[in-house]
Structure formats: C-alpha cells, structure tokens
Symmetry: D2
Subunit: 393 residues, 4 copies
C-alpha cells in the first residue's frame, strides 16, 4: 500500500468518525433545520478543511477522489453536512482556476492558516446583487438566494453583476465583512441544514485583490470546470445518501420488522420479496458507486492537468460526471423511496426519520434537472458532441 | 339524469367544498400533526357522516361508490381527513355485517340521531388489549396502537382477545366510556392528522349488547369483507392524493416554474420533457381512476347482495379491489414523488408542502404490502384461486 | 340485456371463433409472413366486413366500440389479422367523413353488396405517387410503401400528390384496377402478415367520382378524425396482443414450466415471484383494457355526432385516445417482453412462437411514437391545449 | 504499459477483427440458425482458443478478465459466437478445478496441440444420460439437451448419472467418439447459432482417465465455481449485446431515421426525446460495463488462488458476479428492446435484424432467473449469508 493511499485512509477514518457522530442526532437536526454549529465545528476540528489544498500551502494535497469519498461518507448519515463540506472544497479551489496565481496562493495559504470554512453566495442565475466599480475594487448591494453553506461560514465566495456593464464578477471575502447579513431563512423540505438561504449585501466593499481575475483565465478550459466539480459533489451525496438509507433500513429490517402475516416466514429478513428488493437496491447502488468512483478518478486526472486541460478533455470529463450524476440521482431516488417497503408500516414513525433520505435526495436532485444531463450525454453518444461549457454542463 | 345520481352530485359538491376549505391550511396542519378538530367538525356539519346509512334509519342511503368518491375528493387536498372519513364509513357499517340485526339497527339509528363520528381501536395484529368475560359483557384492559380516527371520535370500534380463550372479539362503544384514554401520540412522517396513535383501556366495561355478534355472522361470506372495504378506501385515498398532487403541481408549473436555461423555451410549460412527464402522470392516473371507479361499482353490487354474497363473488371482488389498490399505490407513489421534477428546485420550499403528498402515500401504502396483493392477484390469474378471506385479503 | 348488446355478443362470438381458428397456425404463419389468404377468406365469410356499415346500406350498424372489441379479440391470437380487419373498418368509413354523401352511400352499399375487403395505399408521409389531373379524374403513377392490407384486398384507399399543385388527394378504387401492382414485399420482424408493403401505380385511372370530396368536408372537425380512428385500432391491437400473450403464458406455466431449483416449491405456478409477476401483468393489463374500452365509448359518441362534432370535442377525444394508446403500448411491451420470465428457458423454442407477441407490439408501437402522444396529452393536462389536428394527433 | 496489458491488447484486436467479420452476415446467419462453421473456423484460426491456458502447457496464460473482455467484444456483433467461445473457455478449464493434476495437464496440453474447440453436453438438470460402470471406465446411453457448442466441436464435456448409484459424473471426450450423435436441433428464437440442441449417446465408451476426478476436488471451494464462471460469461454477453445494439442503432439514427413530423427538428439526431433516450441507454450501459469489468478482476483474483480459495472468498465472488449478471441482464433487456424507439418504424425491416439483439438477450437471460440471483444478493446484503454453492449460485 502506497503512502498516499495510507493518507487517504486516515482521512476516510476521520470522515467515518464524523459521520458516526453526526448520525447521533441527524433525525432531530433534520427536523430543526437551521445551522448545525456544533457539527460544523467538529468538521473544523477534524482538519479536513485543508484536505484538498496543495502541500506547498500547508494543505494535505489530497486528490478530488479523496475529497469526494469523504463527502460520500458524510452523506451516509447527514447529507446537509456532506453538502457544506463538499461545497467548501468547491469554493476553496475557485481561485485556483478562476483567479491569478497570487489569489490562488493567498486563499489557499490563509485557509490553512485560519482553518477557514467556506460558504458561497454566488448563484449565477440570481442577478439581484449589483456591484459598482470603485478605485479600490467594488461595492455590492442586493440579495442572493441559494447561498449554501453561508451560515456560520468564515469566507464567502460572492458574485455580482456590474451596474454598468452587467458583467458577472466573482470575489472571495470574509463572511464578517461589513454590510453582509446572512439570513437563516433556508426552509426546504430537504437538505435542511445546508444554510442555503439568502445573503443580503449593503454597500459591501470588495477590494480589487479579492475580485477573482477570471478574465485572465477565461482562455483556458480549466476555468470552466464549475459544473464538473459541483455535479461530482452532488453525485457523491446522492450515492452516499442511498448507502446510508440502505444501511439504516437493514438494521431496522433485522431488528424491528415483523414478517408479513401471509409470508409463511418467521422473520421479515427471510421474506422472499424483501430479499429480492435488497438485491435490487444493492445491484443498482453498487453500479452507482462504481460510476461515481470512476468519475472521481477521471476528475483527478483533469485536475492534475490544470491549465493544460483541453476543451475535448474537459468535454469528456463533463460527460463522465453527468453520467455518474444522472445514474446516482435515479438510483438514490429509488432506494431512498423504496426502503420503507422493506422496513414496513411502523418504520414511518417520526423518530426514525426514514423519510429524510428521500426528502434530501428529492430536493438535491432538482439542483439541475437530470433529464438535461441525459440529453447532453445523449448528444455525445449519438452526435459526438461534447457539452458546451456552461453553468450546468 | 336519475334522482340517485343527482343526490350523489349534491354530496360530491359538499365534498368539494370541504376539500377547498381543508386546502387552505393543509400544509400548516400537516406540519403540526395532531387532531384537526375544526375540520372534523366541518365534516360533522356537512351531513356526510350519515351518507352510507340506509334510509330506514335516517341515513342518505348512498352506495359505497359515492362514499369512496367523496373520500377520493377529500384526499386531493388532505389525505388525513379523507382517511378518517373513509374509516368512519368503514366503522359505521361494522355491525351491518358482523353484528345482529338489532345491533345494526341500533348503531345506524343512533349514529344518525347523534351525528356520531366513528373511529377505531381494533387493529387485530395488536393483541395487547385483553378482555375478561363478565355477567354483563366484558371488561377490557391494555393498549392498542394504529387507532386511526380515535382522537375526537364519538364512537370507537374496539377489539380484544379473551383472557381465557384468546378469542378475538369486537365491540362498539362511546369513546367517552370510563377507562378509555385516547393518546395523541401518532407521529409518523405521513398521514399526520389521522390520529392513528394509541388508545389505552383501564377496566373498560363493554355491555353484552355492545359486543358484535360475529359468531352468528361467521357462516356468511359477507362477514369477511373487512379487507375489501379498507383496501377500497385506501385505493381511493391513493388516487385522490395523486390527483391533488398533480393539480397543485400544474398550478406551480404554470405560474412559478422557470424554464431551464438550456431548454430553449420561454416558459417551463412549453418544455418538451415537462410536457412528456405531465402526459405520463396523466396516463397512469387516469388508469388508476378507472380502476378504482370500476372496483367501487363492483363493491356496490357486493354490498347490495348482503348475506346472499357467495364466497366466489367475495373472492372476485377481493381480486378486483386488490388490483385497483395495487395499481393506485404504484401510480400515486410515482406521481407524488415525480411532481417535483415538473415544478423545480424552488418548489421544495416548506411553505408549498409539496413533499406531503409523497409522505402520505408512502406511509399509507405500507398499511398492507402491495407485493402480497399482487401475489394474490397472480394466484387468481394463474391458478384461478380466489384469496382466502383474511385480515388483508 | 338489450337487443343491440345481443347483436354485439353475436359478433364477439364470431370474432372468438375466428381467433381460435387463427391460433391454430399463427406461429407458422408468423414465420412465413406473406398473405394469410385462407384466414382473410374466413373473415370474408364471417360477415364481419359490413359490421360498421349503417343499416340503411345493408350493414350491421354496430358502433366503433364493437368493431374495436372484435379487433382486440383477433389480436389475442393474431395481431396481423386484427390489423387488417381494423384497417378495413378504417378504410370503409373514409368516404363517410371525407367524401360526399353520394360517395358515402356508394362505397357503403357496394361494400355490403360485394363483401369487399378494404386495404390501403395512402400513407401521407410517402409522397412518391403523383397524380395528373384529367377531364375524367386523375392518372396516378409512382410507388407507395406501408400499404397495410393491400395484398388480397378488393378495394384500396389510395392517395397522391397533384403534379401541379402538390395537393394531397385521396381516392377509393378497386385493387384490380389496371396499372396497380401490389408487391408482396412487406418483410418486417413484426406484424408480418399485414401485407404492409409497396403498391406501384402505372398510369392508373381514377374517375372523378372516385376522388373523395375532401374539400367540401374540410370545414368540419369530423373530417379530421383519421388519427383518432387509427390510434384506437392500434390501442386495441396492443391490448389484445398483451391479453393473448398472457393467456398463452398462463397455459405454459401451468403445464410446462418447471419450478426453479432453489424455489422450494413443487410447481412453477406456486413460485412467489411468478405469482407476483402475473399479478403485475394483470394489474397493468386490466388498466389498459379499461382505458381502451372507455376511449371506445367516447369514440362512439364522437361518431354519432358526425358533422356536428366540434373542434373541442374532437380535441378531447384525441386526448382520450392518445392516453389509451400510450398506456396500452407501454403495457403491451412490458407484458409481451416479460412473459418469458414466467414461462422459462425452454419456452424460447421456436415452435411456441412466444417472441411473436413482442415483435408484433414492438413493430406496431413505432407507427407513431408514444412519446409524442404523451407530449400532446401533457400539453392538454398542463396548458389545456387540445392537439392540433394532424396526421398523428 | 506493462507487457501483459500489451498482450491483452493484441487479443482484443483479434477479437475486434473477428467481431467485424461476424457482423458482415450476422443478420442472415441469425435467420438461418444452425452451425456457423466458417466463423467457428475463423475462431480456430485466430489462436484465441488457447488464450486461457497456462504458459507451461503452451497457452497464452491470459487471465479471465481478458477472456471475458473478448467474449464481450464478440457479443457486440454475434452473441451466439460469443457464447460458444465463452463456453469453450468454461469447458477447457473444467479439468483444472474438477480433475486430477494429470487430467488438467492432459486436456490443457492436448487442447493447445490440437487447437481443440470445446463444446458441452453436460446440463446437470437433464438426467437422461445414464452411465454403466465398467472395468475400463463407463458406458453412456441416453440423450441430453441444451448442449451448447456441441455442433462442430472437437471435444465435449459430458455428464451422466450412474445407473446404480445415481451419482453425477463428468467426463471429457472427443466429440467424434463412437456412439455420439450431435443433433442439429437447436431452434429457439434467440442465440440461434449456439448449437445448443441435443446430443444422443449410444453405448459411448468413456475411459477411466477421461472421467474427471471430482471426488478428490470436492473438499475445495475452488471445485464449485461453475456458476461463477458461467454467470460471468453470460454477464459479458449481455453487456456486449447491449453495446452492439446501441452501436447499430446509432448508425441507423444518424443515417436513416427521419425526424418525427411534430418534432420541429431537421434531423432525428436532434430530437430531444431521442437524445434523452441515448443518454439513458448510455448511463445504464456504462454502469453495466463497470460492474462486469470489476467482477472480472475479482474473478482473476479468485482464479489465481486456485485450491487455496476459501468458502467465504468464493461466496463474495459469487455475489459480485450475480450482481453484475443481474444488472447486465436488466440493462441489456431495456436497451435491446428500446433501440427501436430511437431508430423508428422503418428500422423494423427484416434486413436490419434489429430485433435479434433483444431475442438473444431475452433467451439467454432465462438461463437462470435473475430474480433468484437478486434474492441471493439480497440475502448477502441483509443477512450476510453467502450463496450456498450450487449449480446456479
């Protein structure tokens, strides 16, 4: 076993410990919503925030496949915390491919030094934050929704449209910056502790150095990998949610479920239909896991190429990730919705929280529609067309 | 149009009015759980409680098809209230096929006179209530779960096992009888306002006349139609839930959904995939509605035969109802889980409560497993075996 | 039982007899392809060719629901013969809604008198037959494919485009007309005895009176019901094919299938998974049958309205039929493909011909894509848009 | 790239060449059935028959993953030839795990020397061949069905039951041995050129040395891997059939399919529903390929362990292979049945043979029922029970 793998194992152990801890009150916290402050602090203490950051900046230099594996592990017990950690990784690397070398260095180094937990308020479909150019940088005002991971964050990736040109700009600033208000108003039926609500900006100053130098990176395919990263993270959350649902169902079937009165078996775990259904769940789930793992390795290669990445390579990777994401979404919906059939009527009691897996996956799979990912995959299969780089492809 | 149909229409109008009223705060009440006292009183005031009772006792003498149609109507906005009304009908007729003629008369007449709302605490799989025979009747002690409609009920169908013989007995008594305590402890993730929690019994007196004379009715196939009635009620709740989900989704897609960025259409309602999905929902839903309606007509015939019903006729009807129930269950799960795909990410906001349809159907379809109903149907199709009368077939 | 129903029963009996006769060598004839001359003559002798023709012209005046029921019955054993009879009905009524009153009378009366069996060579998507206007009518030359029922036909509905104006015209002429050559070149993997191959025309004379007076009928919605009729016929063939497949599977499972070695049952007919699958087949099939039957009754109403039919009524009926057709297609594909799972490995022997059901349905469901029918249904459900009258909607 | 991989690539190239050659008349040969003599000779000439045989006996010493990859490659154009080559590998290694070391050596060495093509007549469920023990070995009489690869074979694996003890015995003898008659009577609707018909035995002599020494191997888990090998081979044929179907469909859609009249696109390859469907096919197919490839690597490890293999390891591998097989079966059925929807009505013409993929997969997936594999997988997932070694698990 090579050294890098050993390191990966160490991080996976940490993730397993966190997942076990999160599991203790996952059901209650799902009901409560809001910000899982204690759990976020446990993530901070785990050292996992710097996992993806290169060694030269003090990070652990782990590949994306390890980061995604950890996200998947957390999703087994808590898809919200998996999401905020996954998006932390997503945000912390923004300057790497959209910023100048100085910005990359600065944000990496300072993240390690301060153990920053990143969130975002940068949904590009929401054009309600307007920035005015100034001598020192820009001043932002407005509100932005879907700001996942913003509550209790240390740093925020923010985006705005220029008041004159309409240009879309991206910056990275402390969440405590004057004029920022992070509303705790996320209230969906799923992914309830992701803090994906509104952030409002009132005359918020962004220094020139904090505005990512997207312009200089635009010629490179590497600068357009946002959807590849976000869809990879989500795919792993879907797969992990399904794994977690199946594991909890198993415990329940084994210890609580009663055999159906006309089943002619003594234990629910011997019911032929229940066995078949576990077999189907597993078969699909294993396929999903293989797909997300293979996509993660392809992402590792893509990431290693950095600005040498070609458009064709970027396109192939986008297809690979879309494939994994679409399959994981379908599978996770089927499993998280289906487990109740192998646990039975009494397992619907609120205290088990067995519906939360489905609610989480149902909510999260709407982030960008599966059917349009399938269309893109189909266009590549049939017409050899790689997806046009965009916000979601 | 015949007179009976006109009457049916009048009752359907009432049901539509109730459904509209229930819709106003269905989302909030789903969150709150507990007993929908005001809504139950509206049902009381609507006059619908006596719908199924023969004219000679002052009832409206409507056939089961009308009762089920009303249940389905209510389920469009509130599956819990549909359930408690459906089970009210189920309970109010118990003495008709399990009791003596005197009992039938008494309970019908008194229900009309007092506008009783019936609930139950008679789950036969739960053997925790024990009855001791006395000179006057029986004395019950213990607890029983899954007592749907017990909270705020006027009358309760109760069941117990005899402490000596183990014999399973059924009685009908006022919910206010000394020693009865109705716990408000139902807390599942679905069907949250059905009050399906625990009822405890402490030395509860049941008079001889209140114990249904099941013994005298046992020779008749008619006395074994419990599962035909309960599965008919549930099938209509499933179908109605799907209809309600689709109707709410439609309003949302038309007024709130945004076209997907790569869809090349101006409105979500023109998206080819969304149109296809509405087409699929409708196609399956219409099939489900035809099945439950056809089954309801067959139930009307069965009911009209009363004690002349043969075992073969009872068996055929059981297959018809199981078929409708299984199909409606499958369809309702698919539609209530799928509507989010035609409404989109922002429709997951808690205030819309769009997950409640799925939670309700998911919970309720576990009442008795669909796969065992399919097995029974298959045994009839393949081996010409009608289902052996039992609690669930 | 009313007199009309009795008549319907008589025709259904005849159809059952034909179906039983066709079943005898359906497997061999499927392999052989070509024209089932003897079977077509049995149809001629059955008297069923005049079924749909009004009494005043000597016909049996049966509604479409009876015609479709007969088509479905034949499809149980032979979907090709069901198709040619269904399309005979479709062709024989063309003059009724696209022709003048004289044409209607003529073709109805002569069909009865001569016991004509109609076929067609009128696929409107195929524009290779060109007509030249003459003083007496038109002269046609060219070739047309997908000419279902043309082989061994007595009369042909033909269509062409005018050489000058491109106008699409339709006529009805004897198949023996000089210059017509009916090629026996239909060779698809399904619906193999429908004779759906090429007809070539060499200077074929069509008299003015034989050219349907479509122009005068164009203002009426009734003149645009082609797709409603054709999709109704196909929907019934799909449903009947599934019924036939299930019936043959049942016989095989009961008499030939061996229990799987690890099933712990003595007979395949007791296998829990096989029972479940029969239950699923039945559940879906019954839904399909209810849908096609309800659509047939709606078609009866539409047909009775004739030229008083409004566009809105026509639109609603088109949706009803598309719904039934799409559901029947989906169900028939699932059942005809799935029966092998309940019959087993040895049932794949060619002599049973158990694949022919799937091949027939697979071929026939491509006639016009289900997904576009679903889109139309969805457009009606979501946007209250009725389908724009066209060749396929 | 390591040397072994290069070797693997060379063999894959050969397989691709064969597949291309077989594709030329695959449609005609499917119709004809019978024995593809010329193609079998091409396999003989390709050198691939000794691929799996260890170097010390003159073989190419390739792992099972390479053999299976080749089988999958052939299945893209001809699932029958893929099957007979796959089963050749299966038969050629029988002595390796069921015979003495001498038998292993003999059959391996002689296979290389004579370039033997193996077939079988050893279906254990068919107990019609009876053997009488003699001083020199045994004398067999009777008939055995499902003898895949028997026609045109050089060697046959045969099995019989002892006339006294009923014991099940296995031997390996030349196909030309006196008294053997290989009937060309395989006539199923799928896998038509596998020669899986009957072999009859009339007083056929089997020498002692030709009877595999199963007894001495029985204590070892390695001797029970028959189902692991056969299910691996089938899983790859399923996956390859789906890949081939998709590739042919793609060419047709691109070059032949017409856009649907209401699709508003110029080319079928731009139709949104067709793109989606290609995306779905691909997504599932890629999952199937990953599963069979991962299972093949696990089989390589199992094979390398030989008689050191533990029951637990054997059990885990059996689950892995069952998982891959079940998923590949489901996917291959969906894709081979679905491609017609993306090619359209005219693609049903017999000359394209597009139904053969489905017929092959439908036939072959009945070899042992998927649902029982799922049950076994479920038993492992839920109860941690590994499959009890048997003929099919």
């Amino acid at each position: 076993m090579g050294k890098e793998t050993q390191a990966a194992d160490i991080y996976l152990r940490k993730a397993e410990e966190l997942a076990a801890e999160f599991a203790k009150d996952a059901v209650e916290r799902d009901k409560a919503g809001g910000t899982p402050k204690r759990q976020r602090d446990l993530i901070r203490e785990s050292g996992l925030l710097k996992l993806i950051i290169p060694s030269q900046y003090g990070g652990d230099n782990q590949p994306w496949s390890v980061a995604l594996r950890i996200v998947r592990e957390l999703a087994k017990s808590d898809a919200s915390l998996a999401h905020v950690l996954g998006y932390h990784y997503f945000m912390v690397v923004q300057a790497h491919y959209k910023g100048s070398l100085e910005q990359q260095r600065f944000y990496y180094r300072e993240t390690v030094r301060n153990n920053w937990f990143w969130g975002n308020s940068s949904n590009p479909l929401d054009r309600n934050v307007i920035g005015r150019k100034t001598a020192e940088g820009a001043v932002l005002s407005g509100r932005k929704g879907f700001s996942s991971g913003s509550t209790d964050s240390d740093m925020l990736l923010v985006s705005w449209n220029d008041d004159k040109t309409g240009e879309f700009l991206v910056g990275a600033i402390p969440s405590s910056r004057d004029g920022i208000r992070i509303h705790e108003d996320w209230d969906s039926f799923g992914q309830r502790q992701t803090g994906s609500g509104t952030v409002s900006f009132e005359q918020v100053q962004v220094a020139e150095a904090e505005i990512l130098d997207v312009e200089s990176r635009r010629p490179f395919a590497f600068s357009t990998i946002d959807p590849i990263l976000s869809q990879s993270i989500l795919a792993n959350i879907f797969a992990g949610s399904a794994e977690g649902a199946l594991a909890e169902a198993k415990q329940y079937t084994l210890t609580q479920s009663r055999p159906w009165i006309s089943s002619n078996v003594d234990k629910a775990s011997l019911d032929p239909y229940i066995l078949q259904q576990y077999g189907e769940f597993w078969t699909d789930l294993k396929a999903a896991v293989l797909l997300v793992e293979q996509a993660a390795l392809e992402l590792d290669e893509l990431w290693a190429k950095e600005f040498a990445l070609t458009e064709a390579e970027r396109g192939e990777a986008a297809v690979t990730v879309a494939t994994a994401n679409a399959f994981a979404a379908k599978t996770a919906l089927a499993i998280t919705g289906g487990i109740l059939e192998v646990t039975g009527a009494r397992s619907t009691a609120s205290r088990y929280g067995f519906d939360r897996f489905w609610r989480n996956v149902r909510t999260h799979t709407l982030h960008n529609p599966t059917v349009y990912k399938l269309r893109n995959v189909g266009d590549w299969v049939l017409n050899d067309e790689i997806p046009k780089p965009s916000l979601y492809s």
